[in-house]
Amino acid sequence: MNEVVLLGAEAIAQGAIDGGMSGVYAYPGTPSTEITEYIQRNSGARKEGIHSEWSANEKTAMESAIGMSYAGKRAMVCMKHVGLNVAADPFINSAITGAGGGLIVVVADDPSMHSSQNEQDSRFYGDFALLPILEPADQQEAYDMAYNGFSLSEKVGLPVLMRITTRLSHSRSRVLRMKNIAENELKLPDDKKKFILLPSIARERYKLLLNLQDDLTELSENAAYNTLKDGNDRSLGIIACGISHNYLMENYPEGIPHPVLKIGQYPVPVKKIKEITSSCKEILVLEEGYPILEKSLLGLLNNSPVPIRGRLDGSLPRDGELNSDLVRKALGMEVHNGPEIPEIMVNRPPALCKGCGHIDIYHSLIEALTDFGEGRTFADIGCYTLGALPPYNAINTCVDMGASITMAKGAADAGLVPSVAVIGDSTFTHSGMTGLLDAVIENSPITIIISDNETTGMTGGQVSSAVGRIEGICLGIGVEESHLKIVTPLKKNHDENVQVILNELNYHGISVIIARRECIQTASKRKRIEVETKSLSTKS
């Protein structure tokens, strides 16, 4: 028995390593990135040869994991909540094929959108796919669920969705590890047809999936993560999902006087829900994310036997992350504010680093666009999205991964010519290539700037799938060599770069400008490691 200190994300990683995983597939995305990074760094994982390279995007990651599961071995996929939108096609269909080796899909949601475009609740996807969901309340549960998740998946023959949120992912606590489980052997599915989703086969598989639902609910009724604790004060009953249970406990240091149903495994335990709703005068539902359970308890006709309170009746805010003070208010207790923030306080938002290449190319782009009018720069997701803020105010849109190129094309089709797309290198190989293909086929009058810092920067400098490949990809897709330009974004090259951009803006066809300079953060990290390694080796 081994005690370690781990972030929630790391606890999942360690649980999976100890639980017999053979491979993790992922694309960086806050707050999920740390799971894969931990596995990449872990000497035990490396010794066992656990696959842990980054995938080009969440869809390829999900599909590779399905492939490993098909071959009988245990696999894990990791992504942030919007990453599941990208992986949705294979994810939903993996419920129909079922799993071979245990398959855990870990999705990290970001309530309050600390670093995301939305705060969608991934439990919806589990319900939509008709798959079991595990939702840990703390670091120990995160470890346990990953450790045991593969055998749950193999037992029901389905992938399992594991859902965490930022607050748990990036919070550290003590975790007890369990004994290492050996990996599975290579083993093909007994049913030779189950992974072939021709309609005739899929219809049968879907019926099997539907028939499994009662079994899944039965498993939830008896799951260790779903506990119904009685309480003397039945004027209120509380249902707390995942991490919200901590916020409930925080407000009752002497113990909770009301009955509490803690939920950590879905489908929800219906019997336990019926028990608590029939024995209490009123129910408060605490769930991080959308009011999914709350809504289903209310029903369309609001025919719940007891009043249901939560996000929908205003007891809790409809949006944003929960915390112990919001729960405290919902429980009718007084909140004890400390002193107010003084008026002199100002915001200190994240900004592009001093010396960042994105800054230089934005300056050149802004100048080149002076005579063309505003509103035509379609950008994407990465550090360069910070170009939206003052003093740059350089971009007009950022919607989803890869949308820069395709939105620029659509706007150009509408007559907004020229349109400019700004995309990073990692985002380009994630989902910019297919948009480029569309644009090349129609020779759209757009100028694509690939701001290439040779890394996946915003998430902390992970290896980018694009490195060394961008020119080849662009030429291979069909961009004309004469309209594929490479520039170095530096102050001293400003005038030259403005001219290059101007020339391409004036060209009525597809242009790609690669603005390449290594991210200064990864560059300095690399140099620091080189110096450290040298000094340690000279010592020995």
């Binding site: 806050t30 607050r167 919070s171 606590s173 405290r328 400390g338 002193p339 915001n347």
Partner: protein, 207 residues
């Protein structure tokens, strides 16, 4: 929450060990390193804890904070509730004020007086320091200067930790062993450098 200043600079809350700490500063100032050291120290003393931190967007010059909760019974919320922080430990003066609503009425503000000015509307330093000084339990030290005088420019975070150590329910020796644990792979010279900074901060606070 009653507390007494123990002769060896330890705070014990009515015999219970408990600290709710908010660490604050700017991305890149070593807040997470401080958290790591407190973590090692907490583990050594076999206490329960939860420590949450901000990753992702808030790096690179954005405001950064970490919540550190220590107790001898299991900790529930990963975040310090409003009005429950015993200590706001800040490596940057403006960042000290950002989490005031979390401070409990006997809580301490310990901060560095050297500003990190990377926004155009940064307030006057005098105003910031005066606002901090309005709170009775405050300690302002020039951690940057102390670190520089030790020849360890990047050590202000260690200095502040040393200065605040008397308000954390952990033994000073535990913090020292935390430094050894965190920095050991960088070699003994680095460990010693950081220990010196920690002690210098403690000494400055006692003056």
């Amino acid at each position: 929450m009653l507390c007494e200043l123990h002769p060896t600079n330890k705070i014990k809350y009515m015999g219970m060990k408990k600290s709710n700490i908010i660490l604050s500063g700017v991305g890149g100032q070593g807040i997470l390193t401080i958290a790591g050291i407190i973590g090692m120290a907490t583990l050594k003393e076999k206490l329960y804890f939860k420590q949450s931190e901000v990753h992702g967007m808030s790096q690179r010059g954005g405001a950064v904070q970490s919540n550190f909760r220590i107790a001898d019974t299991p900790v529930a919320s990963d975040l310090v509730p409003l009005g429950q922080a015993d200590l706001i430990l800040s490596v940057e003066p403006l960042e000290t004020l950002r989490y005031l609503p979390f401070l409990n009425k006997n809580g301490w503000l310990v901060c560095n007086s050297s500003p990190f000015i990377n926004v155009p509307d940064y307030p006057e330093l005098e105003k910031i320091l005066n606002t901090i000084a309005e709170w009775p339990n405050h300690l302002i030290i020039d951690a940057d200067k102390i670190a520089k005088d030790l020849g360890n420019r990047r050590g202000s975070n260690m200095v502040i930790l040393g200065a605040a150590s008397q308000y954390i329910c952990l033994d000073f020796e535990s913090l020292e062993s935390g430094i050894s644990a965190i920095f050991e792979r960088k070699g003994d010279a680095v460990v010693q450098q950081n220990l010196l900074a920690l002690r210098a901060g403690r000494d400055a606070a006692l003056k």
